[in-house]
Protein backbone atom coordinates (compact mmCIF):
# COMPACT_ATOMS: atom_id res chain seq x y z
CA UNK A 1 0.00 0.00 0.00
CA UNK A 2 2.98 2.28 0.50
CA UNK A 3 3.56 2.37 -3.25
CA UNK A 4 0.87 4.99 -3.75
CA UNK A 5 1.79 8.65 -3.83
CA UNK A 6 1.43 10.49 -0.55
CA UNK A 7 -1.49 12.91 -0.30
CA UNK A 8 -0.88 14.23 3.19
CA UNK A 9 2.05 13.81 5.50
CA UNK A 10 2.17 15.08 9.05
CA UNK A 11 5.42 14.86 10.96
CA UNK A 12 5.55 15.43 14.70
CA UNK A 13 2.86 18.05 14.56
CA UNK A 14 2.02 19.86 17.76
CA UNK A 15 -0.48 22.65 18.01
CA UNK A 16 -1.02 24.70 21.12
CA UNK A 17 -3.62 27.32 21.83
CA UNK A 18 -2.74 30.02 24.28
CA UNK A 19 -5.53 30.75 26.72
CA UNK A 20 -5.85 34.10 28.41
CA UNK A 21 -7.64 35.24 31.46
CA UNK A 22 -8.57 38.60 29.96
CA UNK A 23 -8.65 40.53 26.73
CA UNK A 24 -6.01 42.87 28.07
CA UNK A 25 -3.64 40.01 28.79
CA UNK A 26 -4.27 38.57 25.35
CA UNK A 27 -3.47 41.78 23.50
CA UNK A 28 -0.38 42.37 25.61
CA UNK A 29 0.94 38.86 25.14
CA UNK A 30 0.44 38.65 21.41
CA UNK A 31 1.53 42.15 20.44
CA UNK A 32 4.48 42.36 22.79
CA UNK A 33 5.52 38.73 22.35
CA UNK A 34 5.33 37.58 25.96
CA UNK A 35 4.77 34.02 27.05
CA UNK A 36 1.10 33.16 27.55
CA UNK A 37 -0.10 32.09 30.96
CA UNK A 38 -1.93 28.90 30.05
CA UNK A 39 -1.18 26.71 27.07
CA UNK A 40 -3.69 24.21 25.80
CA UNK A 41 -2.40 21.41 23.61
CA UNK A 42 -4.70 20.44 20.76
CA UNK A 43 -2.39 17.99 19.03
CA UNK A 44 0.72 16.55 20.53
CA UNK A 45 3.63 15.25 18.49
CA UNK A 46 1.24 13.87 15.91
CA UNK A 47 2.49 11.91 12.89
CA UNK A 48 0.34 10.45 10.14
CA UNK A 49 0.68 9.58 6.47
CA UNK A 50 -2.31 9.44 4.17
CA UNK A 51 -2.01 8.10 0.64
CA UNK A 52 -3.82 9.16 -2.51
CA UNK A 53 -7.28 7.66 -2.83
CA UNK A 54 -7.67 6.75 0.84
CA UNK A 55 -10.84 7.48 2.80
CA UNK A 56 -10.09 8.12 6.44
CA UNK A 57 -12.50 8.61 9.33
CA UNK A 58 -11.31 10.34 12.49
CA UNK A 59 -12.88 9.28 15.76
CA UNK A 60 -12.39 10.71 19.19
CA UNK A 61 -14.17 12.35 22.08
CA UNK A 62 -14.70 16.12 22.10
CA UNK A 63 -11.41 17.91 22.42
CA UNK A 64 -9.38 15.10 20.93
CA UNK A 65 -7.97 17.47 18.32
CA UNK A 66 -9.84 16.19 15.27
CA UNK A 67 -11.07 19.56 14.03
CA UNK A 68 -7.74 21.20 14.71
CA UNK A 69 -6.06 18.52 12.66
CA UNK A 70 -8.38 19.02 9.68
CA UNK A 71 -7.98 22.80 9.91
CA UNK A 72 -4.21 22.45 9.75
CA UNK A 73 -4.46 20.16 6.73
CA UNK A 74 -6.80 22.65 5.05
CA UNK A 75 -4.30 25.41 5.76
CA UNK A 76 -6.49 27.65 7.91
CA UNK A 77 -4.57 26.95 11.10
CA UNK A 78 -0.85 26.61 11.59
CA UNK A 79 1.04 24.01 13.62
CA UNK A 80 3.15 25.30 16.49
CA UNK A 81 5.76 22.63 15.80
CA UNK A 82 6.34 19.99 13.18
CA UNK A 83 5.59 19.97 9.48
CA UNK A 84 2.61 19.29 7.25
CA UNK A 85 2.84 18.44 3.58
CA UNK A 86 -0.28 18.45 1.47
CA UNK A 87 -0.27 17.55 -2.23
CA UNK A 88 -3.18 18.80 -4.30
CA UNK A 89 -6.18 21.06 -4.04
CA UNK A 90 -8.00 20.84 -0.75
CA UNK A 91 -11.72 21.41 -0.58
CA UNK A 92 -12.94 21.54 2.97
CA UNK A 93 -16.28 21.74 4.69
CA UNK A 94 -15.24 22.86 8.15
CA UNK A 95 -18.07 23.09 10.65
CA UNK A 96 -21.41 24.19 9.39
CA UNK A 97 -20.81 27.70 8.08
CA UNK A 98 -18.68 26.34 5.25
CA UNK A 99 -17.25 29.75 4.40
CA UNK A 100 -20.47 31.09 3.01
CA UNK A 101 -21.22 34.76 2.79
CA UNK A 102 -24.56 35.11 4.53
CA UNK A 103 -25.59 38.17 2.55
CA UNK A 104 -25.24 36.45 -0.79
CA UNK A 105 -27.71 33.96 -2.21
CA UNK A 106 -26.94 30.27 -2.45
CA UNK A 107 -26.37 30.58 -6.17
CA UNK A 108 -23.98 33.52 -5.73
CA UNK A 109 -22.15 31.58 -3.06
CA UNK A 110 -21.58 28.72 -5.50
CA UNK A 111 -19.70 31.08 -7.79
CA UNK A 112 -18.04 32.91 -4.94
CA UNK A 113 -16.75 29.68 -3.50
CA UNK A 114 -15.52 28.61 -6.92
CA UNK A 115 -13.59 31.84 -7.31
CA UNK A 116 -11.95 31.47 -3.92
CA UNK A 117 -10.94 27.91 -4.71
CA UNK A 118 -9.60 29.06 -8.06
CA UNK A 119 -12.02 27.03 -10.16
CA UNK A 120 -12.51 28.58 -13.61
CA UNK A 121 -15.83 30.37 -14.07
CA UNK A 122 -16.74 28.08 -16.97
CA UNK A 123 -16.27 24.96 -14.90
CA UNK A 124 -18.49 26.31 -12.13
CA UNK A 125 -21.12 27.27 -14.67
CA UNK A 126 -21.12 23.68 -15.89
CA UNK A 127 -21.44 22.36 -12.34
CA UNK A 128 -24.09 24.86 -11.23
CA UNK A 129 -27.14 22.75 -12.02
CA UNK A 130 -25.63 19.59 -10.58
CA UNK A 131 -24.80 21.39 -7.32
CA UNK A 132 -28.28 22.90 -6.99
CA UNK A 133 -29.96 19.58 -7.73
CA UNK A 134 -27.80 17.76 -5.24
CA UNK A 135 -28.40 20.30 -2.48
CA UNK A 136 -32.20 19.99 -2.99
CA UNK A 137 -32.63 23.67 -2.21
CA UNK A 138 -35.07 24.36 -5.04
CA UNK A 139 -36.23 27.96 -5.01
CA UNK A 140 -34.25 28.71 -1.87
CA UNK A 141 -31.11 28.79 -3.97
CA UNK A 142 -31.87 32.44 -4.78
CA UNK A 143 -32.42 33.47 -1.16
CA UNK A 144 -29.63 34.84 1.07
CA UNK A 145 -27.69 32.10 2.82
CA UNK A 146 -28.25 33.71 6.23
CA UNK A 147 -31.89 32.58 5.99
CA UNK A 148 -30.89 28.92 5.53
CA UNK A 149 -31.22 26.28 8.20
CA UNK A 150 -28.09 24.44 9.27
CA UNK A 151 -29.19 21.43 7.24
CA UNK A 152 -29.59 23.52 4.11
CA UNK A 153 -26.16 25.06 4.57
CA UNK A 154 -24.56 21.68 5.11
CA UNK A 155 -26.22 20.29 1.99
CA UNK A 156 -25.15 23.17 -0.18
CA UNK A 157 -21.68 23.18 1.35
CA UNK A 158 -21.20 19.51 0.72
CA UNK A 159 -22.59 19.74 -2.81
CA UNK A 160 -20.16 22.53 -3.73
CA UNK A 161 -17.11 21.01 -2.11
CA UNK A 162 -17.67 17.56 -3.53
CA UNK A 163 -18.43 18.85 -7.01
CA UNK A 164 -15.40 21.04 -7.64
CA UNK A 165 -13.22 17.97 -8.25
CA UNK A 166 -10.88 18.37 -5.28
CA UNK A 167 -7.76 16.29 -4.80
CA UNK A 168 -8.51 16.14 -1.11
CA UNK A 169 -12.03 16.44 0.27
CA UNK A 170 -12.41 17.24 3.96
CA UNK A 171 -15.73 17.09 5.80
CA UNK A 172 -15.94 17.98 9.47
CA UNK A 173 -19.14 16.86 11.20
CA UNK A 174 -21.27 18.64 8.62
CA UNK A 175 -23.10 15.56 7.39
CA UNK A 176 -24.59 14.63 10.74
CA UNK A 177 -27.48 17.02 10.07
CA UNK A 178 -28.84 15.19 7.04
CA UNK A 179 -31.48 12.44 7.09
CA UNK A 180 -30.67 8.86 6.06
CA UNK A 181 -31.78 9.37 2.46
CA UNK A 182 -29.46 12.35 2.07
CA UNK A 183 -26.72 10.41 3.79
CA UNK A 184 -27.05 7.68 1.17
CA UNK A 185 -26.80 10.30 -1.56
CA UNK A 186 -23.64 11.68 0.03
CA UNK A 187 -22.15 8.23 0.15
CA UNK A 188 -22.69 7.86 -3.58
CA UNK A 189 -21.10 11.23 -4.18
CA UNK A 190 -18.12 10.43 -2.00
CA UNK A 191 -17.56 7.18 -3.85
CA UNK A 192 -17.67 9.16 -7.08
CA UNK A 193 -15.05 11.59 -5.75
CA UNK A 194 -12.88 8.71 -4.54
CA UNK A 195 -13.30 7.04 -7.91
CA UNK A 196 -11.64 10.06 -9.47
CA UNK A 197 -8.58 9.37 -7.36
CA UNK A 198 -9.26 11.91 -4.64
CA UNK A 199 -8.60 11.49 -0.93
CA UNK A 200 -11.36 11.85 1.64
CA UNK A 201 -11.04 12.85 5.29
CA UNK A 202 -14.05 12.71 7.57
CA UNK A 203 -14.81 13.62 11.15
CA UNK A 204 -17.99 12.37 12.73
CA UNK A 205 -19.48 11.04 15.93
CA UNK A 206 -21.65 8.62 14.01
CA UNK A 207 -19.91 5.27 13.76
CA UNK A 208 -22.40 4.06 11.12
CA UNK A 209 -21.67 6.99 8.83
CA UNK A 210 -17.95 6.54 9.23
CA UNK A 211 -18.20 2.86 8.33
CA UNK A 212 -20.31 3.69 5.31
CA UNK A 213 -18.05 6.45 4.00
CA UNK A 214 -14.52 5.33 4.89
CA UNK A 215 -12.12 2.40 4.80
CA UNK A 216 -9.50 3.54 7.26
CA UNK A 217 -10.15 4.72 10.79
CA UNK A 218 -8.02 6.78 13.15
CA UNK A 219 -8.92 7.11 16.80
CA UNK A 220 -7.59 10.20 18.50
CA UNK A 221 -7.39 11.12 22.13
CA UNK A 222 -5.82 14.24 23.62
CA UNK A 223 -4.07 15.09 20.41
CA UNK A 224 -2.41 11.76 19.71
CA UNK A 225 -3.24 8.66 17.70
CA UNK A 226 -4.50 5.78 19.82
CA UNK A 227 -5.48 3.50 16.98
CA UNK A 228 -4.95 3.46 13.23
CA UNK A 229 -6.33 0.68 11.03
CA UNK A 230 -9.36 -0.63 9.15
CA UNK A 231 -12.45 1.43 9.93
CA UNK A 232 -14.38 -1.48 11.54
CA UNK A 233 -11.60 -2.11 14.03
CA UNK A 234 -11.20 1.58 14.71
CA UNK A 235 -14.94 1.97 15.28
CA UNK A 236 -14.94 -0.97 17.70
CA UNK A 237 -11.93 0.46 19.51
CA UNK A 238 -13.57 3.87 19.76
CA UNK A 239 -16.86 2.47 21.06
CA UNK A 240 -15.03 0.47 23.68
CA UNK A 241 -13.05 3.53 24.66
CA UNK A 242 -16.04 5.81 25.17
CA UNK A 243 -18.04 2.98 26.70
CA UNK A 244 -15.48 2.57 29.44
CA UNK A 245 -15.86 6.12 30.68
Amino acid sequence: MDERPIAIQLKNVSKTYALFTSERQRAKTILLGRKPAVIQRATNNFSLTIYNGESVAFFGPNGAGKSTLLKMITGVAYPTEGSIRVNGRVSALLELQAGFDGEMTGRENIFFRGEILGVPQKEIKALEKEIIDFSELGQYIDQPVRTYSSGMKARLGFAINASVKPDILIVDEALSVGDSRFSAKCQKKINEVLGNGATFLFVTHSVQQAKAFCKRGVVMHRGTVLFDGPVEDAAAFYQKMIGKK
Partner: protein, 268 residues
Protein backbone atom coordinates in the same frame (compact mmCIF):
# COMPACT_ATOMS: atom_id res chain seq x y z
CA UNK B 1 11.77 41.00 3.04
CA UNK B 2 10.38 37.48 2.86
CA UNK B 3 7.03 38.86 3.98
CA UNK B 4 6.94 41.49 1.26
CA UNK B 5 7.62 38.85 -1.38
CA UNK B 6 4.94 36.61 0.11
CA UNK B 7 2.35 39.41 0.06
CA UNK B 8 3.20 40.45 -3.50
CA UNK B 9 3.09 36.83 -4.65
CA UNK B 10 -0.34 36.34 -3.07
CA UNK B 11 -1.59 39.45 -4.83
CA UNK B 12 -0.35 38.29 -8.20
CA UNK B 13 -1.69 34.79 -7.76
CA UNK B 14 -5.10 36.02 -6.64
CA UNK B 15 -5.36 39.04 -8.94
CA UNK B 16 -8.51 37.76 -10.62
CA UNK B 17 -10.17 36.92 -7.32
CA UNK B 18 -9.28 40.38 -5.99
CA UNK B 19 -11.31 42.03 -8.73
CA UNK B 20 -14.19 39.60 -8.35
CA UNK B 21 -14.26 39.97 -4.59
CA UNK B 22 -14.09 43.76 -4.84
CA UNK B 23 -17.07 43.63 -7.14
CA UNK B 24 -19.05 41.34 -4.86
CA UNK B 25 -18.17 43.52 -1.85
CA UNK B 26 -19.54 46.51 -3.73
CA UNK B 27 -22.67 44.73 -4.85
CA UNK B 28 -23.27 43.45 -1.33
CA UNK B 29 -23.07 46.93 0.18
CA UNK B 30 -26.02 48.26 -1.79
CA UNK B 31 -27.99 45.07 -2.28
CA UNK B 32 -31.18 44.51 -0.37
CA UNK B 33 -32.01 48.22 -0.14
CA UNK B 34 -34.91 49.46 -2.24
CA UNK B 35 -32.92 52.50 -3.36
CA UNK B 36 -29.86 50.35 -4.01
CA UNK B 37 -27.07 52.17 -5.77
CA UNK B 38 -28.59 55.59 -5.21
CA UNK B 39 -27.30 55.40 -1.65
CA UNK B 40 -23.73 55.65 -2.87
CA UNK B 41 -24.61 59.21 -3.94
CA UNK B 42 -27.37 60.05 -1.44
CA UNK B 43 -25.29 59.39 1.67
CA UNK B 44 -22.38 61.66 0.68
CA UNK B 45 -24.83 64.23 -0.68
CA UNK B 46 -26.58 64.44 2.70
CA UNK B 47 -23.25 64.82 4.51
CA UNK B 48 -22.12 67.56 2.14
CA UNK B 49 -25.48 69.29 2.58
CA UNK B 50 -25.17 69.23 6.37
CA UNK B 51 -21.68 70.71 6.43
CA UNK B 52 -22.56 73.26 3.80
CA UNK B 53 -25.56 74.33 5.84
CA UNK B 54 -23.53 74.55 9.05
CA UNK B 55 -20.75 76.62 7.52
CA UNK B 56 -22.42 78.64 4.81
CA UNK B 57 -25.76 79.29 6.44
CA UNK B 58 -25.04 78.83 10.14
CA UNK B 59 -21.57 80.35 10.48
CA UNK B 60 -22.03 82.55 7.37
CA UNK B 61 -18.68 81.43 6.01
CA UNK B 62 -19.77 81.47 2.42
CA UNK B 63 -17.13 83.85 1.11
CA UNK B 64 -15.17 82.54 -1.88
CA UNK B 65 -11.75 81.10 -1.04
CA UNK B 66 -8.94 81.91 -3.50
CA UNK B 67 -11.63 83.18 -5.84
CA UNK B 68 -13.51 79.90 -5.71
CA UNK B 69 -17.00 79.43 -4.34
CA UNK B 70 -16.90 77.98 -0.83
CA UNK B 71 -19.08 75.08 -1.97
CA UNK B 72 -16.45 73.89 -4.46
CA UNK B 73 -13.74 74.34 -1.84
CA UNK B 74 -15.76 72.17 0.53
CA UNK B 75 -16.33 69.48 -2.10
CA UNK B 76 -12.57 69.15 -2.68
CA UNK B 77 -12.17 68.36 0.99
CA UNK B 78 -15.16 66.12 1.60
CA UNK B 79 -15.14 63.96 -1.52
CA UNK B 80 -11.69 62.39 -0.93
CA UNK B 81 -12.55 62.23 2.78
CA UNK B 82 -15.43 59.83 2.13
CA UNK B 83 -13.02 57.17 0.94
CA UNK B 84 -10.57 57.86 3.76
CA UNK B 85 -13.24 57.81 6.44
CA UNK B 86 -14.62 54.51 5.13
CA UNK B 87 -11.10 53.09 5.21
CA UNK B 88 -10.20 54.34 8.69
CA UNK B 89 -12.95 52.45 10.47
CA UNK B 90 -14.11 50.00 7.80
CA UNK B 91 -10.53 49.11 6.98
CA UNK B 92 -9.84 48.29 10.59
CA UNK B 93 -12.84 45.97 10.71
CA UNK B 94 -12.25 44.25 7.40
CA UNK B 95 -10.54 41.06 8.59
CA UNK B 96 -13.21 40.51 11.24
CA UNK B 97 -15.87 41.10 8.59
CA UNK B 98 -14.35 38.55 6.25
CA UNK B 99 -13.39 36.17 9.05
CA UNK B 100 -14.81 33.20 7.18
CA UNK B 101 -12.18 33.70 4.48
CA UNK B 102 -9.55 33.22 7.17
CA UNK B 103 -10.98 30.36 9.18
CA UNK B 104 -13.05 28.36 6.72
CA UNK B 105 -11.18 28.43 3.45
CA UNK B 106 -7.59 28.68 2.44
CA UNK B 107 -7.24 32.26 1.33
CA UNK B 108 -4.38 34.77 1.64
CA UNK B 109 -5.17 37.18 4.47
CA UNK B 110 -3.11 40.02 2.98
CA UNK B 111 -5.45 40.17 -0.01
CA UNK B 112 -8.58 40.91 2.06
CA UNK B 113 -7.80 44.61 2.74
CA UNK B 114 -6.90 45.09 -0.91
CA UNK B 115 -10.20 44.02 -2.40
CA UNK B 116 -12.23 45.77 0.30
CA UNK B 117 -10.26 48.95 -0.39
CA UNK B 118 -10.79 48.62 -4.15
CA UNK B 119 -14.50 48.34 -3.57
CA UNK B 120 -14.48 51.59 -1.56
CA UNK B 121 -12.33 53.24 -4.18
CA UNK B 122 -14.80 52.35 -6.92
CA UNK B 123 -17.59 54.16 -5.07
CA UNK B 124 -15.25 57.10 -4.54
CA UNK B 125 -14.28 57.30 -8.20
CA UNK B 126 -17.96 57.54 -8.99
CA UNK B 127 -18.64 60.46 -6.65
CA UNK B 128 -15.39 62.13 -7.72
CA UNK B 129 -16.73 62.16 -11.26
CA UNK B 130 -19.94 63.70 -9.96
CA UNK B 131 -17.85 66.32 -8.16
CA UNK B 132 -16.09 67.21 -11.41
CA UNK B 133 -19.48 67.57 -13.08
CA UNK B 134 -20.47 70.01 -10.34
CA UNK B 135 -17.27 71.95 -11.11
CA UNK B 136 -18.34 72.10 -14.76
CA UNK B 137 -21.81 73.30 -13.76
CA UNK B 138 -20.15 76.09 -11.75
CA UNK B 139 -18.47 77.14 -14.98
CA UNK B 140 -15.01 75.66 -14.31
CA UNK B 141 -13.12 74.42 -17.33
CA UNK B 142 -11.16 71.17 -17.16
CA UNK B 143 -7.44 71.75 -17.55
CA UNK B 144 -4.24 69.77 -17.41
CA UNK B 145 -4.03 70.09 -13.60
CA UNK B 146 -7.17 67.96 -13.28
CA UNK B 147 -5.10 64.98 -14.42
CA UNK B 148 -3.55 64.93 -10.97
CA UNK B 149 -6.77 63.68 -9.40
CA UNK B 150 -6.06 59.99 -10.26
CA UNK B 151 -2.54 60.50 -8.90
CA UNK B 152 -3.76 61.70 -5.51
CA UNK B 153 -6.40 59.02 -5.52
CA UNK B 154 -3.67 56.41 -5.98
CA UNK B 155 -1.66 57.93 -3.11
CA UNK B 156 -4.74 57.69 -0.94
CA UNK B 157 -5.36 54.10 -2.03
CA UNK B 158 -1.83 52.89 -1.23
CA UNK B 159 -1.70 54.53 2.14
CA UNK B 160 -5.13 53.43 3.31
CA UNK B 161 -4.81 49.89 1.98
CA UNK B 162 -1.58 49.50 3.99
CA UNK B 163 -3.38 51.01 6.96
CA UNK B 164 -6.19 48.51 6.55
CA UNK B 165 -3.79 45.56 6.55
CA UNK B 166 -2.17 46.83 9.74
CA UNK B 167 -5.34 47.94 11.52
CA UNK B 168 -7.41 44.99 10.34
CA UNK B 169 -4.92 42.53 11.84
CA UNK B 170 -4.38 44.41 15.08
CA UNK B 171 -8.08 44.92 15.75
CA UNK B 172 -8.63 41.16 15.64
CA UNK B 173 -6.31 40.89 18.63
CA UNK B 174 -7.50 43.97 20.44
CA UNK B 175 -10.95 45.48 20.46
CA UNK B 176 -9.54 48.46 22.31
CA UNK B 177 -7.66 49.34 19.17
CA UNK B 178 -10.97 49.57 17.34
CA UNK B 179 -12.29 52.05 19.88
CA UNK B 180 -9.08 54.01 19.73
CA UNK B 181 -9.36 54.31 15.95
CA UNK B 182 -12.94 55.50 16.17
CA UNK B 183 -12.00 58.29 18.54
CA UNK B 184 -8.93 59.37 16.59
CA UNK B 185 -10.83 59.60 13.30
CA UNK B 186 -12.83 62.62 14.46
CA UNK B 187 -9.63 64.33 15.51
CA UNK B 188 -7.99 63.70 12.13
CA UNK B 189 -11.11 64.93 10.35
CA UNK B 190 -11.29 68.29 12.08
CA UNK B 191 -7.55 68.95 11.94
CA UNK B 192 -7.23 67.97 8.28
CA UNK B 193 -8.17 71.29 6.81
CA UNK B 194 -11.26 70.03 5.09
CA UNK B 195 -12.96 73.33 5.97
CA UNK B 196 -9.90 75.55 5.97
CA UNK B 197 -6.42 75.77 4.52
CA UNK B 198 -3.75 74.08 6.64
CA UNK B 199 -0.99 76.04 4.85
CA UNK B 200 -2.59 79.18 6.25
CA UNK B 201 -2.08 78.20 9.91
CA UNK B 202 0.05 80.98 11.50
CA UNK B 203 1.92 78.95 14.12
CA UNK B 204 4.78 77.32 12.19
CA UNK B 205 5.26 74.32 14.50
CA UNK B 206 1.56 73.60 14.58
CA UNK B 207 1.34 73.89 10.82
CA UNK B 208 4.28 71.52 10.31
CA UNK B 209 2.66 68.95 12.57
CA UNK B 210 -0.69 69.29 10.86
CA UNK B 211 0.94 68.70 7.52
CA UNK B 212 1.67 65.16 8.69
CA UNK B 213 -2.01 64.35 8.75
CA UNK B 214 -2.55 61.95 5.83
CA UNK B 215 -6.01 63.40 5.28
CA UNK B 216 -4.54 66.90 4.88
CA UNK B 217 -2.04 65.65 2.33
CA UNK B 218 -4.68 64.15 0.07
CA UNK B 219 -7.19 66.99 0.50
CA UNK B 220 -4.48 69.49 -0.32
CA UNK B 221 -3.61 67.51 -3.40
CA UNK B 222 -7.19 67.69 -4.62
CA UNK B 223 -7.22 71.45 -4.05
CA UNK B 224 -3.91 71.87 -5.85
CA UNK B 225 -5.35 70.06 -8.82
CA UNK B 226 -8.72 71.74 -8.96
CA UNK B 227 -8.33 75.14 -7.29
CA UNK B 228 -4.73 76.23 -6.66
CA UNK B 229 -3.56 74.96 -10.05
CA UNK B 230 -0.26 73.61 -8.81
CA UNK B 231 1.73 70.50 -9.71
CA UNK B 232 2.64 67.92 -7.11
CA UNK B 233 6.36 68.50 -7.67
CA UNK B 234 5.87 72.09 -6.60
CA UNK B 235 4.76 70.71 -3.23
CA UNK B 236 7.81 68.76 -2.16
CA UNK B 237 7.11 69.23 1.56
CA UNK B 238 3.70 67.56 1.25
CA UNK B 239 5.08 64.78 -0.91
CA UNK B 240 7.95 64.14 1.50
CA UNK B 241 5.49 63.84 4.37
CA UNK B 242 3.44 61.39 2.36
CA UNK B 243 6.44 59.19 1.62
CA UNK B 244 7.41 59.17 5.29
CA UNK B 245 3.88 58.26 6.36
CA UNK B 246 3.50 55.54 3.73
CA UNK B 247 6.86 54.04 4.70
CA UNK B 248 5.86 54.06 8.34
CA UNK B 249 2.52 52.47 7.58
CA UNK B 250 4.14 49.77 5.45
CA UNK B 251 6.56 48.93 8.24
CA UNK B 252 3.67 48.69 10.72
CA UNK B 253 1.68 46.52 8.33
CA UNK B 254 4.63 44.16 7.81
CA UNK B 255 5.22 43.99 11.54
CA UNK B 256 1.59 43.14 12.25
CA UNK B 257 1.53 40.61 9.41
CA UNK B 258 4.65 38.83 10.59
CA UNK B 259 3.53 38.83 14.18
CA UNK B 260 -0.08 37.83 13.73
CA UNK B 261 -0.56 35.85 10.54
CA UNK B 262 -0.30 32.48 12.26
CA UNK B 263 -2.38 33.32 15.32
CA UNK B 264 -5.17 35.23 13.57
CA UNK B 265 -7.12 32.10 12.49
CA UNK B 266 -7.25 30.89 16.10
CA UNK B 267 -8.81 34.14 17.28
CA UNK B 268 -11.60 34.71 14.78
Amino acid sequence: MRIIIEIIRDHIRYRKQILKLAKSDLVKTYKGAALGWSWSVLKPAVTIGIYYFAFAVGLRRNAPIAGYPFFLYLLCGLVPWFYMSAMFTGGAKVIRKYGYLVTKVRFPVSVIPTFASLSQLATNIFITILMLIVFLIYGQRPDIYWLQIPFYMALSFFFFTSWSLFAGLVSVVSKDFMHLVESVVMFLFWTAGIFYDVSGIKNITLRKIMMFNPVSIIVNGYRDALINKMWFWERMDWLRNYVILLGLMLILAMWAYKKLIKTIPDML
